[in-house]
Amino acid sequence: MAQDGTPQLICLTASSGVPLFTRGANRQLPFSVIGSLNGVHMFGGSQGVVVSSSSTEGGGKVVWRVFQDSVMLIAVCRGGHGGAGSSSRAEQVFLQRLLENVWNCMVLVLGQDELGNVRNVERLKKDLRSCFSLIDQLLEDGQEGVFGNLTHCADSLLPPDPGLLQEAVDGFAKSADSEFGCLIVRGRIAAATEKWWRLAPQEVVLLSALVRSLAGSGTSSCDYPVFLPRGSPNVAHRLLRFQLLPGADVCILCGPTPSLHRAETRLVVPFWAPLMETLRACLAVGQHCLPASVSPRPDVMAVLLINRETRRCVTCVQPNLQTSDPPLPSRQRCWELLKLFYSFSVTRYFPQEDTLCVVPEDKDPRSNAEDFVLSFSHNPLQCYLVTEECKSFGLQTPQHQLFLLTPLSVPTFALQTLASQTLSDIVSATGF
């Protein structure tokens, strides 16, 4: 996964195998290999078999998927040392999520019609270029600690003063004749209107990714056409985004009015200037996602907390990791390990409510993970994993899923208590 370099992505027309684009990986696959990958899938098709994934002896992985009978996406990941919880199965989940996200992102930008009926391949190739910045961001797995692409839960930030921001977002959206408004701070949702939360989870995640990519370029506002993969795949809405402060962006989804100029000159300052200090406090929360009052216990290296009902997630890595012997994993490694452990847990113990897009006929010869999960007559509530780098513990309740990492020095029997306490600390302090 991430540490082995970015996966390579290939996009072809499904009917004739004409390459539309390739992204990712420093070393491009030769054209003949791309042709063979497509050939294998086509051959399967002619035999009535859907080829959906394959792995090599060296741990490499290939995943295929056809969308709308018109576009085929292939992801190729070179093998390597995955580390804790890295299993062929977990990587497959990661790649399948990736293909689904890439497709959604193509729909977001171009709309389903254009992708569904390819009339002019050259034209489509050109149009697809406008998806590249977003796709590259998906492949590089962008910002540290952002999990939405994997969990399909909205990365959230719990602001110190949620009420004021909620009011401002509601009022701002309403004044622009929109029911969909959202405030994104450091790439995570700090407040959003009720309707925004009712968008499909993938859409919420995708829009956050889009805003991150737009905000990253340093522009101060924009008016972007977006198609919603679930809600409105054929009719574009307008996404208006305004950078209030560097790192804090407010956006709305709207129809033909108001114009960008009008919204910016008439609405932005009146609604947001009074909240300057609140916004700054929110920015100060930063990468941590949680208000300063809820610091994770010193023994916790990293946490991912998911609210299963609202489909939101918060993450944080211990800001002051102690030095120890053997040395603790770096911040960046903690994020990687947390992602691996999440994938490991949901493929083995905590099946996802949201379709993981693993096609039923897709049986991985190297693991019987699916049978394993299905063979349970009960629902696992907790799981743990001890590796050379850290200990990991997962916990689920009807409302939440919590995943945490601790140093090896923490006794295994203490993990369960630590996890339940962390969960109740965060939930009672923030109501998440």
Binding site: S130, G218, T219, L239, L244, A248, S259, V269
Partner: protein, 247 residues
């Protein structure tokens, strides 16, 4: 249409190089890079040095790939993308630029909001062009030195904007790619004379941080200010300009 004013006729030329500009330029810099301002922020001077900020909307146009997005990023001191990612909609960029008027020595902050819309997006969706044109003060007409057709198309571009009292500045991009140069000095000079429009060029490494953008920003500021003075003299100064400056 307002006559173009020669560089340095209204504003102190190359003011960013002189010592007395330092405290003003420091407000738009942060650790030797350009400071980023959100919409709620602006450069703040101490009370005894308070300066007025004047706001303008500038539309950047030119065909896909000519370098509109790159120009906006460069003028704002942001990282210039080295790949061509088509712009899918409208993106605006704020550029703050201090200037000193020659007459009276008054200092002003120009807040230039650059409006960049991908050419293909402009064609695909009807609402983008009116939105870019709404209360616009200036247009930057772009051509690329590596693409003669983009230069030849300038006349069409200019006709689109005749009749409106707007500052028009022509910018040739990719001047650094002289190996692939497709537009000659003579072409440019002839054009300048027949159209009486300023033509500036962009491209190449940025030398002292501000030096590469100063000629263009000063040219824009100078012409915008001139346009306002002419309008004020004829009593048609747009009231919207004032309300915007108040916010």
């Amino acid at each position: 249409m307002a006559q173009i004013c020669p560089p340095g006729s209204i504003l102190v030329a190359d003011w960013h190089r002189s010592k007395d500009s330092k405290e003003y330029f420091n407000k738009i810099l942060h650790k030797k890079r350009r400071r980023k301002f959100g919409l709620l922020e602006s450069p703040m001077m101490p009370p005894h040095l308070a300066v007025d900020t004047v706001h303008y909307k500038i539309f950047i146009c030119g065909k896909s790939g000519v370098g509109k997005t790159s120009l906006a990023a460069r003028l704002a001191g942001m990282n210039v993308p080295n790949m061509h990612y088509e712009t899918k909609g409208i993106e605006t960029t704020m550029v703050y630029w201090p200037v000193k008027l020659r007459e009276g020595g008054k200092v002003l902050f120009f807040c230039l909001q650059l409006w960049d819309c991908g050419e293909n997006a402009l064609r695909r969706f009807d609402h983008f062009l009116p939105s870019c044109q709404e209360q616009v003060d200036a247009v930057l007409l772009l051509f690329s030195f590596t693409d003669k057709t983009s230069f030849d198309d300038l006349s069409n571009q200019i006709t689109r904007w005749t009749g409106t009292s707007l500052v028009k500045v022509v910018v040739g991009t990719k001047f650094d790619l002289f190996m692939h140069c497709d537009v000659t000095e003579t072409d440019v000079r002839t054009f300048e004379e027949t159209r009486s429009l300023p033509v500036l060029h962009m491209g190449g490494e940025d030398i002292d941080g501000l030096g590469d953008v100063a000629p263009l920003l000063n040219c824009l500021a100078e012409n915008l200010w001139h346009q306002d003075c002419v309008a004020a003299a004829s009593g048609t100064r747009r009231s919207q300009q004032e309300t915007e400056a108040l916010i």
